[in-house]
C-alpha cells in the first residue's frame, strides 16, 4: 500500500488528524535536518495557514493529496514563501504567485511542508553548489546526495516528507533519486507545466516527483500532469489514469540495453548490483535486447552548449534592478550590474553564464549553439528509431556510487560526467524514471527506465512490477543514532 493511501485510511477512520500528520513529519525534519540539511525553508507560520486551509476542506476522493505533505525544490515558486534557488541573488525573494504545479497540489489538498536545497539555480550534480551549504546523503553523511534536486531526494529518503517535487534538466531528479534510494521521475517535456519553475534551460527543464512507492508517485504525477495554457510549451495531451496501469503484467515487453550506456565509465560495483536487477526483469517475463544509440556519446557536449546558452539568457533578469540582490554602493549602471551579479551568483552559475554567453556570441553561434541543436535532433532520432524496436530502454541512472563531499567539486568536467547517462533523455525530451535497484556497501544504486514520449504509464507499470520484487521502500538509512 502506498503512503498516501495509508494516511488517507487513517483520516477516513478518524484515527489521525491532518495536523498530527504534519506534526509527525515536522518531527522527522527536526531530527534529520541538523545532519542532512535537506531543507532551506520550513516556515511554521506558512504551514499553520496551510493546515487551516486544508482543515477547511471536506475530505473526498477527488482530493487525492488531502492532508499529504509535499516538499518542494526551492526553484519552484510558492506564493508568500521564500524561494531562493539556493542563490544569494534571490536570498530574500518572496514570490508573488504560485507555480502551476503548486496551485494544482494545493487544489488537491496537499500541504507544502518546506522548500528543499539544490545546487544554485539547479546547476550541479551534488547539491554542493548551494549558497546555503550542501545537503548530505543520509546513507553516508560524508557523501553527496546527488543533485541538483538533492534536498527533495533526501527528504524522501529520510522520511522527512512522503512526497517531493524536483526539477530535471540533465538528470537532476533521477540522479539524486539513485544516490538516495528513492524513486524519481522526469516526465515527457511538455507534460508538466513549467509556469513558476525558475528557468535554468527552458528547452530541457521539466518538473517531476519523488516518492518511495510507485503508487504514490503515480498519484502525485496525476495531479501535476496535463496541459497548462500559461506554458506555451506544455502539450495539449490528456494523461491517462496512471493508477490503472499499476499491477498489470509486463510480460513480453521488449527492453533495450544500449551498449553505449552500459560499457564506458560505469563502475563495476554499479554493474554488479544492476546485474541482479536485470535478472528480476527477466523473471518478470521481459525480453532484454542489446541495442545501440550511437549518438549518445555526443550528448554531454551538446547538453553543455544548449543548457548554458539558455541559462545565460534566462539568468539575465537577475540584474539587481528590479528585485533580488543589489550592491548598493555602485555609482553607475554598468558597475551596478557587474558587482551585483558578480557577488550574487556562485562560481558554477557564473561559469555556465560565461560558457553560454560565449556559445551564443557573434561568430561562434553556428559552430556551437546551432551545431548543438542539430546534434540534439540526431539524438532524438536515435531514440525514436530505438523505440521502434523496443518498448523501453534501461541503463544505470548514474555511472558511479554516491561520491564524497568535495571529491569532484574542484573539477567541473569530472562533475559533468556524472550526468552522462541521464542527459540524453532531456535532449530527446522523453520521460525516464530512476528506481532503487540495490545497495553496495550500504549505498543505494538506481536503475533508469526510459520510454517514448508520454509513456509515463508504461514507466510506472514496469517500476511497480519491479518494486514488487525488489522493494527497498521500507528500508531507511540509520546513519543517525536514535532515528
Amino acid at each position: 500500500m502506498g503512503i498516501i493511501k495509508e494516511i488517507h485510511n487513517l483520516y477516513l477512520k478518524k484515527e489521525i488528524t491532518v495536523r498530527e500528520v504534519i506534526e509527525k513529519y515536522l518531527k522527522n525534519i527536526e531530527n534529520w535536518e541538523p545532519h542532512v540539511h535537506a531543507f532551506l525553508t520550513v516556515n511554521l507560520d506558512y504551514i499553520e495557514r496551510e493546515i487551516k486551509r486544508v482543515e477547511g476542506l471536506k475530505f473526498n476522493e477527488d482530493l487525492t493529496l488531502y492532508g499529504i505533505p509535499v516538499a518542494i525544490k526551492d526553484n519552484i515558486l510558492t506564493e508568500g514563501l521564500l524561494t531562493t534557488c539556493a542563490s544569494k541573488i534571490l536570498a530574500n525573494f518572496i514570490p508573488p504567485y504560485d507555480a502551476e504545479v503548486i496551485r494544482r497540489l494545493k487544489e488537491k489538498g496537499a500541504i507544502i511542508i518546506g522548500k528543499t536545497n539544490l545546487d544554485e539555480f539547479a546547476m550541479g550534480s551534488s547539491t554542493e553548489n548551494s549558497a546555503f551549504g550542501p545537503t548530505k546523503n543520509p546513507w553516508d553523511l560524508e557523501r553527496v546526495p546527488g543533485g541538483s534536486s538533492g534536498g527533495s531526494a533526501v527528504a524522501i529518503a529520510t522520511g522527512e516528507s512522503p512526497l517531493a517535487l524536483g526539477s530535471d534538466t540533465g538528470g537532476s531528479i533521477r540522479q539524486p533519486a539513485s544516490f538516495t534510494g528513492v524513486i524519481g521521475l522526469k516526465p515527457t517535456y511538455g507534460l508538466v507545466s513549467r509556469y513558476g519553475l525558475v528557468a535554468f534551460a527552458s528547452s530541457l527543464d521539466q518538473i517531476g516527483p519523488f516518492a518511495r512507492k510507485v503508487e504514490d508517485l503515480a498519484i502525485i504525477l496525476q495531479v501535476i500532469a496535463g496541459y497548462d495554457p500559461k506554458d506555451s510549451t506544455s502539450l495539449p495531451y490528456s494523461p491517462p489514469n496512471y493508477l490503472d496501469s499499476l499491477g498489470k503484467s509486463v510480460k513480453g515487453w521488449k527492453i533495450g540495453i544500449p551498449k553505449e550506456m552500459w560499457e564506458r565509465g560505469v563502475e563495476d560495483s554499479v554493474l554488479e548490483v544492476l546485474d541482479s536487477a536485470l535478472k528480476v526483469l527477466r523473471d518478470l517475463g521481459v525480453e532484454l535486447i542489446e541495442i545501440s544509440l550511437p549518438t549518445v556519446e555526443y550528448a554531454l557536449p551538446t547538453y553543455y552548449l544548449i543548457a548554458t546558452s539558455e541559462a545565460s539568457s534566462n539568468l539575465a533578469r537577475y540584474d539587481g534592478i528590479h528585485y533580488g540582490y543589489r550592491n548598493k554602493n555602485q555609482k553607475d549602471l554598468i558597475s551596478l550590474y557587474k558587482v551585483s551579479r558578480g557577488e550574487g551568483f556562485g562560481s558554477e552559475v557564473k561559469r555556465r553564464i560565461i560558457l553560454g554567453t560565449y556559445a551564443l556570441s557573434a561568430g561562434y553561434y553556428d559552430a556551437y549553439y546551432l551545431k548543438a541543436t542539430k546534434v540534439r535532433t540526431l539524438i532524438r532520432q536515435d531514440f525514436e528509431s530505438a523505440f521502434r524496436k523496443v518498448d523501453l530502454i534501461i541503463s544505470p541512472t548514474s555511472p558511479v556510487l554516491p561520491f564524497r563531499l568535495g571529491e569532484r567539486i574542484e573539477d567541473p568536467l569530472k562533475m559533468y560526467l556524472i550526468d552522462i547517462l541521464t542527459i540524453p533523455v532531456n535532449l530527446a525530451g522523453i520521460p525516464a524514471i530512476s528506481v532503487p535497484a540495490g545497495f553496495k556497501d550500504n549505498l543505494p544504486i538506481g536503475l533508469q527506465f526510459m520510454g517514448p514520449f508520454f509513456s509515463e504509464d508504461k514507466l510506472l507499470q514496469i517500476s511497480y512490477a519491479f518494486q514488487k520484487l525488489m522493494d527497498f521502500s521500507e528500508k531507511y538509512p540509520n546513519t543517525v543514532e536514535g532515528l
Binding site: L77, G196, S202, K230, S232, E310, S313, L315, D319, D332
Partner: protein, 482 residues
C-alpha cells in the same frame, strides 16, 4: 552630386487590448506608473510568455496590405542585452524568420507615385520607460532614474525598408503615408507624439561614382518634422565630411531635438552583440492559408487608392482628394454623404473648406467629431435651395457641431431663413447708402471695390440672411440712381 540613401526602421504599437505575452492592459496612456503590470511583463522568476494571437493577426493584416510575403513558418527569438527598462534582460523579438518579408509602400512625392520596398516586418515586445531625474535627459547624465513598466510588453511591429528613399522629404512623406495606412487598417494608432509610432533612420550619401557611402543610424526621431530635420542635418554633415576629404564613421547617432543636431551615441566597436537565439519558451508559429484568407477579407482599400479614385472618377482636385483621404473616418464620411447627396464637387468643397476650418479652429481631428452625414448634407441642401445663405449655412454647421442640435431646428429657432422680401431688402439698401455717404462718394468716383463694404453692411443688418448676389444687384441698382 551626392545622393542621399535612406532606409527606415519603423516601430508601431499594435492596437491590441492586452500585451504581447500576458493579459495586462495596453491602455497605458493615463495609467499611473507600474499599475499595468504582472509577474510576466515584470520579468519575475518562473514566468512564461504566451503569444497574443491578435497581435500576430494585426501584423499579418498589415503585411498583406503592404504586399508582403507571409512566412508559413515563423518563430520568436531572444535579443539579449542589459538595460533597466528591459526586466528580463532580453527582448522577445524575431530574428531570421520574421512573420513577413518583402512588400512595398507606394506614396506620392510631388504628384509622382514613388515606391519604397520593404525588407521585413516582424513582431516584438515593447520595453518599459525610464524617467531620468537630475541633469539631462539621458541615463548617463541623470542623478537617478525611475523605471515604469506599464509599456513593457506592448506588442510592437517593426517595419524595415530597403534603402530606397533619397531625400528627407521623401522619408517624411513615406512615414506619413505609412501612418495613414496603419490607421486605415486599424492596426496602430500611429501617434508619434505619444510614441506609438517611432522611427530610426539609416542614412548614407552616395558619391558621384555611384559607390554606397558609410551609413549612420539616427535615433530619437519623435515627429515627422524631426525626421526631415534630422536627415537634412545628417546628410549635410556627411557631405561636408566628404568634401573635406574626411570619412564618415559607422555609428549610431542621437537626434538632439533642442539643438537640432545629431550627436554620437555609440560607435561600431561599442555595437552590442545581441546573441540572438530561438526563444525556447514559445513553439514556432505556423500560419495556415485559411487564416491568411480570413485576414485578407478584413483589409479595406488603402488611402492612396482611395485618393486616386476620388481624383479619377469624381474629378476632385488632388488637394481635395488628399484632405478627404487623410483620415479613414473622414473618407468614410465622404462616402456616406455622397450616397445622400450626389454632387461630389460641392460636397468636397463643404468638407475641405468649411468642415476643415472648423476642425482647425477647434484643433480637433475628424475622428474626434461625432457628425451625422444626414445632418451635414441637410445643411448643404438648404444652401443649395437658397433656404439659407452660405454664410448662414457655415454658421449653422458650426452650431450643429458644437451642440449636435438638428440644423433645421437651429434655422427655425433662430429665424435664419434667407430673406427674400424685396421691399424689405430695398429698404435696408437705402438705409445703408444713406448712412455711408463717404463710401457712396468713393464708389461714384470710380472706386468700385467699395461695393463690397456696402454689401457687408447690408449683410450685417440682415444677419447674413440675404443672398449675396441679390444684395449686390440691389445696391448697384440704387447707387446707379444717384
Amino acid at each position: 552630386m551626392y545622393l542621399p540613401v535612406i532606409g527606415l526602421e519603423v516601430h508601431a504599437q499594435l492596437l491590441t487590448k492586452s500585451k504581447m505575452f500576458c493579459s495586462c492592459s495596453t491602455d497605458h496612456e493615463n495609467a499611473p506608473p507600474n499599475t499595468l503590470v504582472c509577474p510576466i511583463c515584470m520579468g519575475m522568476p518562473g514566468v512564461l510568455p504566451v503569444p497574443n494571437k491578435k497581435a500576430i493577426e494585426l501584423l499579418i493584416k498589415t503585411a498583406l496590405a503592404l504586399n508582403c510575403e507571409i512566412s508559413p513558418f515563423s518563430k520568436f527569438d531572444r535579443k539579449n542585452y542589459f538595460y533597466p527598462d528591459l526586466p528580463k534582460g532580453y527582448q522577445i523579438s524575431q530574428y531570421d524568420l520574421p512573420l513577413a518579408r518583402g512588400g512595398y509602400v507606394e506614396f506620392e512625392v510631388d504628384s509622382e507615385i514613388k515606391r519604397v520596398r520593404l525588407k521585413r516586418i516582424h513582431l516584438e515586445e515593447d520595453t518599459g520607460k525610464l524617467l531620468h531625474v537630475g541633469e539631462g535627459d539621458r541615463l548617463a547624465e541623470a542623478e537617478y532614474s525611475l523605471v515604469d513598466l506599464n509599456r513593457c510588453g506592448i506588442p510592437l511591429m517593426e517595419i524595415v525598408t530597403e534603402p530606397d528613399i533619397h531625400s528627407p522629404k521623401e522619408a517624411r512623406l513615406f512615414l506619413q503615408e505609412l501612418r495613414k495606412i496603419l490607421r486605415y487598417l486599424e492596426v496602430s494608432s500611429g501617434d508619434m507624439e505619444k510614441g506609438s509610432l517611432r522611427c530610426d533612420a539609416n542614412v548614407s550619401v552616395m558619391t558621384e561614382k555611384g559607390i554606397l557611402g558609410i551609413r549612420t543610424e539616427i535615433k530619437n526621431v519623435n515627429s515627422f518634422y524631426s525626421l526631415e530635420k534630422a536627415l537634412e542635418y545628417e546628410i549635410e554633415r556627411q557631405i561636408n565630411l566628404l568634401k573635406e576629404g574626411k570619412e564618415v564613421i559607422q555609428e549610431t547617432r542621437h537626434w538632439d531635438e533642442k539643438k537640432q543636431i545629431t550627436v554620437t551615441l555609440r560607435g561600431k566597436e561599442e555595437a552590442e552583440d545581441y546573441r540572438y537565439f530561438p526563444e525556447p519558451d514559445i513553439p514556432p508559429i505556423i500560419i495556415s492559408k485559411e487564416i491568411l484568407e480570413e485576414i485578407k477579407k478584413t483589409i479595406p482599400p488603402l488611402p492612396l487608392q482611395r485618393k486616386l479614385l476620388l481624383q479619377n472618377t469624381l474629378f476632385l482636385s488632388p488637394i481635395e482628394s488628399e484632405i478627404i483621404t487623410s483620415e479613414k473616418e473622414l473618407c468614410e464620411f465622404f462616402d456616406e454623404c455622397l450616397k445622400l447627396y450626389n454632387n461630389p464637387k460641392n460636397l468636397s468643397n463643404w468638407i475641405t473648406v468649411e468642415l476643415m476650418s472648423y476642425l482647425n479652429d477647434q484643433k480637433l481631428n475628424f475622428r474626434d467629431l461625432n457628425i451625422e452625414p444626414k445632418r451635414f448634407v441637410k445643411i448643404i441642401e438648404m444652401v443649395d435651395k437658397n433656404e439659407i445663405t452660405r454664410p448662414v449655412g457655415k454658421e449653422i454647421l458650426r452650431k450643429y457641431l458644437d451642440t449636435k442640435e438638428d440644423p433645421e431646428k437651429i434655422v427655425e429657432k433662430e429665424g435664419l431663413k434667407t430673406v427674400s422680401d424685396l421691399d424689405f431688402l430695398k429698404e435696408i439698401v437705402k438705409r445703408v447708402i444713406d448712412g455711408n455717404e463717404r463710401a457712396v462718394l468713393d464708389y461714384l468716383k470710380g472706386k468700385k471695390n467699395v461695393i463690397n463694404f456696402l454689401v457687408g453692411q447690408v449683410m450685417k443688418e440682415t444677419k447674413g440672411r440675404a443672398s449675396l448676389d441679390l444684395v449686390k444687384n440691389l445696391l448697384e441698382e440704387e447707387l446707379n440712381k444717384r
